[in-house]
Symmetry: C2
Subunit: 263 residues, 2 copies
Protein backbone atom coordinates (compact mmCIF):
# COMPACT_ATOMS: atom_id res chain seq x y z
CA UNK A 1 0.00 0.00 0.00
CA UNK A 2 2.86 2.39 0.74
CA UNK A 3 3.88 2.34 -2.91
CA UNK A 4 0.59 3.69 -4.15
CA UNK A 5 0.79 7.20 -5.53
CA UNK A 6 -1.25 9.87 -3.73
CA UNK A 7 -3.79 11.79 -5.75
CA UNK A 8 -5.87 14.82 -4.82
CA UNK A 9 -9.12 14.77 -6.80
CA UNK A 10 -11.21 17.89 -7.31
CA UNK A 11 -13.79 19.17 -9.80
CA UNK A 12 -16.09 22.13 -10.38
CA UNK A 13 -19.42 20.29 -10.49
CA UNK A 14 -19.28 19.73 -6.72
CA UNK A 15 -18.45 16.64 -4.66
CA UNK A 16 -21.80 15.00 -5.33
CA UNK A 17 -21.31 14.89 -9.12
CA UNK A 18 -21.37 11.38 -10.60
CA UNK A 19 -18.33 12.15 -12.78
CA UNK A 20 -16.23 12.77 -9.67
CA UNK A 21 -17.34 9.51 -8.10
CA UNK A 22 -16.55 7.58 -11.28
CA UNK A 23 -13.05 9.03 -11.46
CA UNK A 24 -12.52 8.43 -7.73
CA UNK A 25 -13.39 4.76 -8.16
CA UNK A 26 -11.21 4.35 -11.24
CA UNK A 27 -8.13 6.08 -9.77
CA UNK A 28 -8.57 4.24 -6.45
CA UNK A 29 -7.73 0.96 -8.19
CA UNK A 30 -4.13 2.17 -8.53
CA UNK A 31 -3.75 5.13 -6.14
CA UNK A 32 -4.57 6.52 -2.73
CA UNK A 33 -7.15 9.16 -3.68
CA UNK A 34 -8.39 12.03 -1.49
CA UNK A 35 -11.33 14.11 -2.74
CA UNK A 36 -11.15 17.84 -1.96
CA UNK A 37 -13.99 19.35 -3.94
CA UNK A 38 -16.45 22.24 -3.78
CA UNK A 39 -19.63 21.72 -1.77
CA UNK A 40 -21.73 22.89 -4.74
CA UNK A 41 -21.47 23.51 -8.45
CA UNK A 42 -18.83 26.11 -9.28
CA UNK A 43 -18.84 25.93 -13.07
CA UNK A 44 -17.20 28.81 -14.96
CA UNK A 45 -15.48 29.99 -11.77
CA UNK A 46 -12.07 29.82 -13.50
CA UNK A 47 -9.09 30.27 -11.18
CA UNK A 48 -10.97 32.42 -8.64
CA UNK A 49 -9.75 32.09 -5.06
CA UNK A 50 -11.39 33.12 -1.79
CA UNK A 51 -9.56 35.94 -0.03
CA UNK A 52 -12.43 38.08 1.28
CA UNK A 53 -14.33 35.32 3.03
CA UNK A 54 -13.71 32.31 5.24
CA UNK A 55 -13.45 28.75 3.91
CA UNK A 56 -15.24 25.91 5.69
CA UNK A 57 -14.14 22.29 5.31
CA UNK A 58 -16.23 19.19 6.08
CA UNK A 59 -15.45 15.50 5.75
CA UNK A 60 -17.40 13.68 3.05
CA UNK A 61 -19.60 11.11 4.68
CA UNK A 62 -21.63 9.70 1.84
CA UNK A 63 -21.00 6.64 -0.22
CA UNK A 64 -17.60 5.34 -1.16
CA UNK A 65 -15.83 8.69 -1.46
CA UNK A 66 -13.02 9.59 0.93
CA UNK A 67 -12.09 13.20 1.53
CA UNK A 68 -13.54 16.64 2.09
CA UNK A 69 -15.88 19.19 0.62
CA UNK A 70 -15.23 22.88 1.09
CA UNK A 71 -17.06 26.15 0.60
CA UNK A 72 -14.21 27.26 -1.68
CA UNK A 73 -13.55 27.17 -5.41
CA UNK A 74 -11.64 24.37 -7.17
CA UNK A 75 -8.39 26.39 -6.84
CA UNK A 76 -9.12 26.90 -3.11
CA UNK A 77 -9.72 23.16 -2.75
CA UNK A 78 -6.36 22.32 -4.30
CA UNK A 79 -4.53 24.87 -2.15
CA UNK A 80 -6.15 23.90 1.13
CA UNK A 81 -6.01 20.21 0.30
CA UNK A 82 -2.26 20.28 -0.37
CA UNK A 83 -1.33 22.49 2.54
CA UNK A 84 -3.82 21.60 5.30
CA UNK A 85 -5.90 18.50 4.62
CA UNK A 86 -3.65 15.78 3.18
CA UNK A 87 -0.93 14.42 5.44
CA UNK A 88 1.62 14.90 2.67
CA UNK A 89 1.74 16.68 -0.64
CA UNK A 90 -0.03 14.67 -3.37
CA UNK A 91 1.95 13.20 -6.26
CA UNK A 92 -0.75 14.13 -8.77
CA UNK A 93 -3.84 16.30 -9.03
CA UNK A 94 -6.82 15.16 -11.09
CA UNK A 95 -9.84 17.38 -11.73
CA UNK A 96 -13.10 16.00 -13.11
CA UNK A 97 -14.75 14.18 -14.72
CA UNK A 98 -16.46 17.36 -15.84
CA UNK A 99 -19.89 17.19 -17.33
CA UNK A 100 -19.47 19.04 -20.66
CA UNK A 101 -16.45 19.77 -22.82
CA UNK A 102 -13.65 22.18 -21.94
CA UNK A 103 -12.14 22.83 -25.35
CA UNK A 104 -10.84 25.92 -27.07
CA UNK A 105 -10.52 29.25 -25.30
CA UNK A 106 -13.68 28.40 -23.34
CA UNK A 107 -11.53 26.09 -21.22
CA UNK A 108 -10.02 29.26 -19.70
CA UNK A 109 -13.32 29.80 -17.85
CA UNK A 110 -13.54 26.29 -16.49
CA UNK A 111 -13.25 25.55 -12.79
CA UNK A 112 -12.33 21.96 -13.68
CA UNK A 113 -9.38 23.06 -15.78
CA UNK A 114 -8.50 25.63 -13.09
CA UNK A 115 -8.20 22.85 -10.50
CA UNK A 116 -5.40 21.39 -12.62
CA UNK A 117 -3.94 24.83 -13.37
CA UNK A 118 -3.69 25.45 -9.64
CA UNK A 119 -1.98 22.09 -9.19
CA UNK A 120 0.57 22.97 -11.88
CA UNK A 121 1.15 26.38 -10.27
CA UNK A 122 2.01 24.53 -7.06
CA UNK A 123 4.46 22.38 -9.02
CA UNK A 124 2.36 19.19 -8.95
CA UNK A 125 1.68 17.20 -12.17
CA UNK A 126 -2.00 17.83 -12.91
CA UNK A 127 -4.69 16.58 -15.26
CA UNK A 128 -8.18 17.93 -16.02
CA UNK A 129 -10.72 15.49 -17.48
CA UNK A 130 -13.98 16.43 -19.23
CA UNK A 131 -16.61 14.49 -21.07
CA UNK A 132 -17.89 16.35 -24.12
CA UNK A 133 -21.61 15.98 -23.46
CA UNK A 134 -23.76 17.02 -20.50
CA UNK A 135 -26.19 14.19 -21.16
CA UNK A 136 -23.80 11.27 -21.38
CA UNK A 137 -23.25 9.27 -18.23
CA UNK A 138 -21.07 6.37 -19.38
CA UNK A 139 -17.79 7.26 -17.70
CA UNK A 140 -15.81 4.21 -18.84
CA UNK A 141 -14.02 5.99 -21.68
CA UNK A 142 -13.04 8.94 -19.50
CA UNK A 143 -11.89 6.63 -16.69
CA UNK A 144 -9.80 4.45 -18.99
CA UNK A 145 -8.25 7.52 -20.61
CA UNK A 146 -7.43 8.92 -17.14
CA UNK A 147 -5.72 5.70 -16.03
CA UNK A 148 -3.77 5.54 -19.27
CA UNK A 149 -2.67 9.17 -18.90
CA UNK A 150 -1.60 8.54 -15.32
CA UNK A 151 0.63 5.70 -16.54
CA UNK A 152 2.01 7.86 -19.32
CA UNK A 153 2.91 10.80 -17.06
CA UNK A 154 4.52 8.43 -14.58
CA UNK A 155 6.76 7.31 -17.41
CA UNK A 156 7.21 10.71 -19.10
CA UNK A 157 6.91 13.33 -16.35
CA UNK A 158 5.22 16.59 -17.24
CA UNK A 159 7.34 19.74 -17.21
CA UNK A 160 7.02 21.97 -14.18
CA UNK A 161 4.24 24.54 -14.56
CA UNK A 162 2.46 22.45 -17.20
CA UNK A 163 -0.70 20.36 -17.10
CA UNK A 164 -2.85 18.21 -19.37
CA UNK A 165 -6.40 19.11 -20.34
CA UNK A 166 -8.23 16.01 -21.56
CA UNK A 167 -11.53 15.99 -23.43
CA UNK A 168 -13.14 12.60 -23.89
CA UNK A 169 -15.80 12.08 -26.56
CA UNK A 170 -19.21 10.98 -25.31
CA UNK A 171 -19.00 7.49 -26.79
CA UNK A 172 -19.02 3.97 -25.42
CA UNK A 173 -15.47 2.87 -24.63
CA UNK A 174 -15.11 0.61 -27.65
CA UNK A 175 -16.16 3.36 -30.04
CA UNK A 176 -13.48 5.82 -28.99
CA UNK A 177 -11.00 5.89 -31.84
CA UNK A 178 -7.88 6.65 -29.84
CA UNK A 179 -5.94 9.53 -28.35
CA UNK A 180 -4.53 12.65 -30.01
CA UNK A 181 -2.19 15.30 -28.69
CA UNK A 182 -3.95 18.54 -29.53
CA UNK A 183 -3.71 22.30 -29.19
CA UNK A 184 -6.25 24.81 -27.89
CA UNK A 185 -8.76 25.36 -30.66
CA UNK A 186 -8.90 29.07 -31.53
CA UNK A 187 -12.00 28.81 -33.68
CA UNK A 188 -14.38 31.66 -33.29
CA UNK A 189 -15.90 32.07 -29.96
CA UNK A 190 -19.35 33.49 -29.37
CA UNK A 191 -21.83 34.36 -26.75
CA UNK A 192 -25.23 35.90 -26.70
CA UNK A 193 -27.01 37.84 -23.98
CA UNK A 194 -30.70 37.51 -23.46
CA UNK A 195 -32.38 40.74 -22.26
CA UNK A 196 -35.40 40.12 -20.05
CA UNK A 197 -37.68 42.11 -17.78
CA UNK A 198 -38.41 41.11 -14.19
CA UNK A 199 -41.77 41.22 -12.38
CA UNK A 200 -41.09 44.86 -11.42
CA UNK A 201 -40.37 45.81 -15.04
CA UNK A 202 -36.64 46.11 -14.51
CA UNK A 203 -34.23 44.81 -17.11
CA UNK A 204 -31.75 42.02 -16.48
CA UNK A 205 -29.48 39.82 -18.59
CA UNK A 206 -28.72 36.13 -18.93
CA UNK A 207 -25.48 35.10 -20.55
CA UNK A 208 -26.03 32.16 -22.82
CA UNK A 209 -24.75 30.34 -25.82
CA UNK A 210 -21.04 30.45 -25.11
CA UNK A 211 -19.32 28.08 -27.45
CA UNK A 212 -16.40 27.58 -29.76
CA UNK A 213 -17.46 27.08 -33.29
CA UNK A 214 -15.73 24.31 -35.08
CA UNK A 215 -13.30 25.99 -37.42
CA UNK A 216 -10.24 25.02 -39.37
CA UNK A 217 -8.13 24.07 -36.33
CA UNK A 218 -7.39 20.61 -37.64
CA UNK A 219 -5.22 19.71 -34.69
CA UNK A 220 -7.35 21.51 -32.11
CA UNK A 221 -9.00 19.89 -29.08
CA UNK A 222 -12.45 20.69 -30.42
CA UNK A 223 -11.69 18.95 -33.72
CA UNK A 224 -10.21 15.76 -32.24
CA UNK A 225 -12.89 15.28 -29.57
CA UNK A 226 -15.59 15.82 -32.22
CA UNK A 227 -13.93 13.17 -34.36
CA UNK A 228 -14.11 10.53 -31.64
CA UNK A 229 -10.60 10.85 -30.17
CA UNK A 230 -9.56 11.61 -26.61
CA UNK A 231 -8.01 15.08 -27.08
CA UNK A 232 -4.99 15.61 -24.81
CA UNK A 233 -3.92 19.26 -24.70
CA UNK A 234 -0.73 20.25 -22.87
CA UNK A 235 -1.18 23.67 -21.23
CA UNK A 236 1.21 26.00 -19.44
CA UNK A 237 0.51 28.30 -16.51
CA UNK A 238 3.16 30.82 -17.56
CA UNK A 239 1.25 32.89 -20.10
CA UNK A 240 4.22 34.98 -21.29
CA UNK A 241 3.98 35.59 -25.06
CA UNK A 242 7.61 34.74 -25.82
CA UNK A 243 7.64 35.83 -29.46
CA UNK A 244 6.11 39.20 -28.64
CA UNK A 245 8.50 39.69 -25.74
CA UNK A 246 11.44 39.43 -28.14
CA UNK A 247 9.73 41.56 -30.79
CA UNK A 248 8.94 44.41 -28.39
CA UNK A 249 12.49 44.45 -27.06
CA UNK A 250 13.80 44.64 -30.61
CA UNK A 251 11.39 47.49 -31.32
CA UNK A 252 12.94 49.50 -28.51
CA UNK A 253 10.14 49.32 -25.95
CA UNK A 254 12.71 49.11 -23.15
CA UNK A 255 13.09 52.79 -22.27
CA UNK A 256 14.96 54.79 -19.68
CA UNK A 257 12.97 57.80 -18.54
CA UNK A 258 15.32 59.38 -16.02
CA UNK A 259 12.57 61.65 -14.76
CA UNK A 260 12.14 63.06 -18.23
CA UNK A 261 8.77 61.56 -19.02
CA UNK A 262 6.45 64.26 -20.35
CA UNK A 263 3.44 64.94 -18.23
Amino acid sequence: MKDKVKILLTNDDGYQAPGLEALFNALSTVADVTVVAPDRERSAISLAITLADIIRVSPIENGSLKGFHTTGTPADCVKIGCSELMDSRPDYIFSGINSGSNVGLNANYSGTVAGAVEGAMLGIPSVAVSLTSYDFHDYRGACQASLKILDMIKENPLNQFELLNINVPSLPLDEIKGMRISRVSLSSFREKFDRRTDARDREYFWMGGIWNERGADLDGDRFFSDEGYVAVTPLKVDWTAEGTLQRLREKGWDQDWNGEIDE
Copy 2:
Protein backbone atom coordinates in the same frame (compact mmCIF):
# COMPACT_ATOMS: atom_id res chain seq x y z
CA MET B 1 -14.33 63.89 -32.10
CA LYS B 2 -15.15 61.09 -34.53
CA ASP B 3 -11.48 60.20 -34.76
CA LYS B 4 -11.10 59.41 -31.09
CA VAL B 5 -10.51 55.77 -30.35
CA LYS B 6 -13.15 53.99 -28.27
CA ILE B 7 -12.04 52.35 -25.06
CA LEU B 8 -13.94 50.09 -22.68
CA LEU B 9 -12.53 50.50 -19.16
CA THR B 10 -13.06 47.89 -16.47
CA ASN B 11 -11.35 46.78 -13.25
CA ASP B 12 -11.80 44.36 -10.36
CA ASP B 13 -11.82 46.84 -7.48
CA GLY B 14 -15.28 48.06 -8.48
CA TYR B 15 -16.45 51.20 -10.28
CA GLN B 16 -15.96 53.40 -7.20
CA ALA B 17 -12.23 52.69 -6.95
CA PRO B 18 -10.03 55.79 -7.27
CA GLY B 19 -7.63 53.95 -9.61
CA LEU B 20 -10.42 53.46 -12.14
CA GLU B 21 -11.40 57.13 -11.99
CA ALA B 22 -7.77 58.23 -12.47
CA LEU B 23 -7.38 56.02 -15.54
CA PHE B 24 -10.76 57.16 -16.89
CA ASN B 25 -9.67 60.79 -16.66
CA ALA B 26 -6.27 60.13 -18.22
CA LEU B 27 -7.57 58.05 -21.15
CA SER B 28 -10.44 60.50 -21.73
CA THR B 29 -7.91 63.15 -22.80
CA VAL B 30 -7.29 61.13 -25.96
CA ALA B 31 -10.17 58.65 -26.26
CA ASP B 32 -13.89 58.13 -25.89
CA VAL B 33 -13.98 56.01 -22.73
CA THR B 34 -16.91 53.94 -21.43
CA VAL B 35 -16.64 52.38 -17.99
CA VAL B 36 -18.18 48.91 -17.61
CA ALA B 37 -17.05 47.75 -14.19
CA PRO B 38 -18.24 45.56 -11.31
CA ASP B 39 -20.54 47.15 -8.74
CA ARG B 40 -18.25 45.94 -5.92
CA GLU B 41 -14.80 44.61 -5.32
CA ARG B 42 -14.17 41.36 -7.21
CA SER B 43 -10.49 40.83 -6.48
CA ALA B 44 -9.06 37.35 -7.15
CA ILE B 45 -12.12 36.44 -9.22
CA SER B 46 -9.89 35.52 -12.17
CA LEU B 47 -11.75 34.85 -15.43
CA ALA B 48 -14.95 33.68 -13.73
CA ILE B 49 -18.15 34.39 -15.68
CA THR B 50 -21.77 34.37 -14.57
CA LEU B 51 -23.81 31.60 -16.15
CA ALA B 52 -25.98 30.43 -13.25
CA ASP B 53 -27.34 33.84 -12.25
CA ILE B 54 -28.70 36.97 -13.85
CA ILE B 55 -26.60 40.06 -14.51
CA ARG B 56 -27.95 43.52 -13.68
CA VAL B 57 -26.62 46.65 -15.33
CA SER B 58 -27.00 50.24 -14.05
CA PRO B 59 -25.75 53.55 -15.44
CA ILE B 60 -23.04 55.21 -13.36
CA GLU B 61 -24.40 58.47 -12.06
CA ASN B 62 -21.67 59.75 -9.79
CA GLY B 63 -18.89 62.18 -10.57
CA SER B 64 -17.16 62.47 -13.90
CA LEU B 65 -17.36 58.80 -14.92
CA LYS B 66 -19.42 57.76 -17.93
CA GLY B 67 -20.65 54.21 -18.24
CA PHE B 68 -22.18 51.34 -16.33
CA HIS B 69 -21.70 49.17 -13.31
CA THR B 70 -22.85 45.56 -13.33
CA THR B 71 -23.40 42.75 -10.87
CA GLY B 72 -21.01 40.64 -12.94
CA THR B 73 -17.30 39.89 -12.87
CA PRO B 74 -14.69 41.82 -14.87
CA ALA B 75 -14.95 39.22 -17.69
CA ASP B 76 -18.76 39.57 -17.64
CA CYS B 77 -18.37 43.36 -17.82
CA VAL B 78 -16.17 43.12 -20.91
CA LYS B 79 -18.51 40.66 -22.62
CA ILE B 80 -21.71 42.57 -21.90
CA GLY B 81 -20.07 45.92 -22.55
CA CYS B 82 -18.85 44.88 -26.00
CA SER B 83 -21.99 43.08 -27.08
CA GLU B 84 -24.84 44.99 -25.39
CA LEU B 85 -23.84 48.31 -23.84
CA MET B 86 -21.51 50.15 -26.22
CA ASP B 87 -22.96 51.26 -29.54
CA SER B 88 -20.00 49.71 -31.36
CA ARG B 89 -17.17 47.37 -30.47
CA PRO B 90 -14.38 49.20 -28.61
CA ASP B 91 -10.96 49.65 -30.22
CA TYR B 92 -9.18 48.87 -26.94
CA ILE B 93 -9.89 47.44 -23.51
CA PHE B 94 -8.13 48.82 -20.44
CA SER B 95 -8.48 47.25 -17.00
CA GLY B 96 -7.34 49.07 -13.86
CA ILE B 97 -5.65 50.87 -12.28
CA ASN B 98 -5.55 47.99 -9.82
CA SER B 99 -4.60 48.65 -6.25
CA GLY B 100 -1.76 46.18 -5.64
CA SER B 101 0.64 44.40 -7.99
CA ASN B 102 -0.30 41.64 -10.41
CA VAL B 103 3.06 40.04 -11.06
CA GLY B 104 4.23 36.47 -11.38
CA LEU B 105 1.84 33.53 -11.42
CA ASN B 106 -0.34 35.41 -8.92
CA ALA B 107 -1.54 37.53 -11.84
CA ASN B 108 -3.47 34.44 -13.01
CA TYR B 109 -5.90 35.00 -10.12
CA SER B 110 -6.46 38.67 -10.82
CA GLY B 111 -9.80 40.00 -11.98
CA THR B 112 -8.01 43.06 -13.36
CA VAL B 113 -5.76 40.95 -15.58
CA ALA B 114 -8.79 38.80 -16.47
CA GLY B 115 -10.61 41.88 -17.81
CA ALA B 116 -7.81 42.25 -20.34
CA VAL B 117 -7.61 38.49 -20.95
CA GLU B 118 -11.32 38.55 -21.84
CA GLY B 119 -10.73 41.47 -24.19
CA ALA B 120 -7.94 39.55 -25.94
CA MET B 121 -10.15 36.45 -26.18
CA LEU B 122 -12.70 38.63 -28.00
CA GLY B 123 -9.95 39.77 -30.37
CA ILE B 124 -9.64 43.31 -28.96
CA PRO B 125 -6.21 44.77 -28.03
CA SER B 126 -6.21 44.85 -24.24
CA VAL B 127 -4.09 46.22 -21.41
CA ALA B 128 -4.21 45.57 -17.64
CA VAL B 129 -2.67 48.20 -15.36
CA SER B 130 -1.71 47.70 -11.70
CA LEU B 131 0.09 49.81 -9.16
CA THR B 132 2.42 47.76 -6.97
CA SER B 133 1.29 49.08 -3.60
CA TYR B 134 -2.13 49.10 -1.93
CA ASP B 135 -1.25 52.24 0.02
CA PHE B 136 -0.02 54.46 -2.78
CA HIS B 137 -2.52 56.83 -4.33
CA ASP B 138 -0.44 58.90 -6.74
CA TYR B 139 -1.72 57.62 -10.06
CA ARG B 140 0.36 59.89 -12.31
CA GLY B 141 2.97 57.27 -13.12
CA ALA B 142 0.38 54.61 -13.96
CA CYS B 143 -1.64 57.08 -16.04
CA GLN B 144 1.39 58.29 -18.01
CA ALA B 145 2.50 54.71 -18.60
CA SER B 146 -1.01 53.81 -19.82
CA LEU B 147 -1.10 56.72 -22.28
CA LYS B 148 2.35 55.84 -23.54
CA ILE B 149 1.36 52.19 -23.99
CA LEU B 150 -1.78 53.23 -25.87
CA ASP B 151 0.39 55.22 -28.29
CA MET B 152 2.80 52.32 -28.65
CA ILE B 153 0.12 49.73 -29.43
CA LYS B 154 -1.50 52.09 -31.91
CA GLU B 155 1.83 52.14 -33.71
CA ASN B 156 2.78 48.47 -33.17
CA PRO B 157 -0.50 46.54 -32.95
CA LEU B 158 -0.64 43.62 -30.55
CA ASN B 159 -1.03 40.15 -31.99
CA GLN B 160 -4.48 38.64 -31.88
CA PHE B 161 -5.14 36.72 -28.64
CA GLU B 162 -2.40 38.63 -26.80
CA LEU B 163 -2.54 41.37 -24.16
CA LEU B 164 -0.22 43.49 -22.05
CA ASN B 165 -0.05 43.24 -18.27
CA ILE B 166 1.53 46.40 -16.84
CA ASN B 167 2.83 46.80 -13.30
CA VAL B 168 3.76 50.32 -12.29
CA PRO B 169 6.03 50.91 -9.30
CA SER B 170 4.55 52.97 -6.49
CA LEU B 171 6.76 55.99 -7.04
CA PRO B 172 6.24 59.62 -7.94
CA LEU B 173 6.28 60.03 -11.72
CA ASP B 174 9.74 61.57 -11.89
CA GLU B 175 11.28 58.72 -9.87
CA ILE B 176 10.12 55.96 -12.21
CA LYS B 177 13.24 54.80 -14.01
CA GLY B 178 11.64 53.75 -17.28
CA MET B 179 9.86 50.82 -18.90
CA ARG B 180 10.99 47.22 -19.33
CA ILE B 181 9.50 44.41 -21.36
CA SER B 182 9.32 41.55 -18.89
CA ARG B 183 8.20 37.96 -18.49
CA VAL B 184 6.01 36.36 -15.84
CA SER B 185 8.15 35.88 -12.76
CA LEU B 186 8.14 32.19 -11.76
CA SER B 187 9.80 32.73 -8.39
CA SER B 188 8.41 30.62 -5.65
CA PHE B 189 4.90 31.17 -4.75
CA ARG B 190 3.48 30.69 -1.27
CA GLU B 191 0.35 30.91 0.73
CA LYS B 192 -0.57 30.18 4.28
CA PHE B 193 -3.90 29.21 5.79
CA ASP B 194 -4.92 30.46 9.18
CA ARG B 195 -7.05 27.95 11.14
CA ARG B 196 -9.50 29.65 13.52
CA THR B 197 -12.47 28.66 15.61
CA ASP B 198 -15.82 30.43 15.43
CA ALA B 199 -18.13 31.40 18.30
CA ARG B 200 -19.73 27.95 18.13
CA ASP B 201 -16.35 26.22 18.34
CA ARG B 202 -16.34 25.21 14.72
CA GLU B 203 -13.19 25.43 12.67
CA TYR B 204 -12.78 27.67 9.65
CA PHE B 205 -9.92 28.88 7.46
CA TRP B 206 -8.67 32.17 6.11
CA MET B 207 -6.37 32.12 3.12
CA GLY B 208 -3.61 34.64 3.56
CA GLY B 209 -0.07 35.48 2.64
CA ILE B 210 -0.21 34.75 -1.06
CA TRP B 211 2.84 36.21 -2.67
CA ASN B 212 5.62 35.63 -5.13
CA GLU B 213 8.98 35.71 -3.50
CA ARG B 214 11.57 37.66 -5.34
CA GLY B 215 13.83 35.09 -6.88
CA ALA B 216 16.38 34.95 -9.64
CA ASP B 217 14.00 35.96 -12.44
CA LEU B 218 16.14 38.87 -13.57
CA ASP B 219 13.85 39.75 -16.43
CA GLY B 220 10.63 38.99 -14.54
CA ASP B 221 7.81 41.45 -13.88
CA ARG B 222 8.38 41.22 -10.14
CA PHE B 223 12.05 42.12 -10.54
CA PHE B 224 11.57 45.11 -12.84
CA SER B 225 8.69 46.65 -10.91
CA ASP B 226 10.68 46.26 -7.68
CA GLU B 227 13.58 48.02 -9.34
CA GLY B 228 11.53 51.09 -10.20
CA TYR B 229 10.59 50.28 -13.80
CA VAL B 230 7.16 49.95 -15.38
CA ALA B 231 7.08 46.22 -16.13
CA VAL B 232 5.25 45.45 -19.39
CA THR B 233 4.51 41.74 -19.75
CA PRO B 234 3.02 40.41 -23.00
CA LEU B 235 0.63 37.54 -22.26
CA LYS B 236 -1.24 35.11 -24.49
CA VAL B 237 -4.67 33.60 -23.97
CA ASP B 238 -3.80 30.40 -25.84
CA TRP B 239 -2.12 28.39 -23.10
CA THR B 240 -0.97 25.50 -25.36
CA ALA B 241 2.47 24.27 -24.26
CA GLU B 242 3.97 24.14 -27.75
CA GLY B 243 7.23 22.40 -26.84
CA THR B 244 5.43 19.68 -24.93
CA LEU B 245 2.92 19.23 -27.71
CA GLN B 246 5.76 18.39 -30.10
CA ARG B 247 7.55 16.23 -27.54
CA LEU B 248 4.49 14.12 -26.74
CA ARG B 249 3.76 13.56 -30.43
CA GLU B 250 7.35 12.41 -30.94
CA LYS B 251 6.99 10.08 -27.94
CA GLY B 252 4.09 8.34 -29.64
CA TRP B 253 1.24 9.61 -27.48
CA ASP B 254 -1.01 9.76 -30.54
CA GLN B 255 -2.62 6.32 -30.42
CA ASP B 256 -5.26 4.46 -32.37
CA TRP B 257 -7.36 2.26 -30.13
CA ASN B 258 -9.75 0.65 -32.60
CA GLY B 259 -11.89 -0.66 -29.80
CA GLU B 260 -8.92 -2.55 -28.41
CA ILE B 261 -8.39 -0.48 -25.29
CA ASP B 262 -8.04 -2.79 -22.29
CA GLU B 263 -10.72 -2.42 -19.69
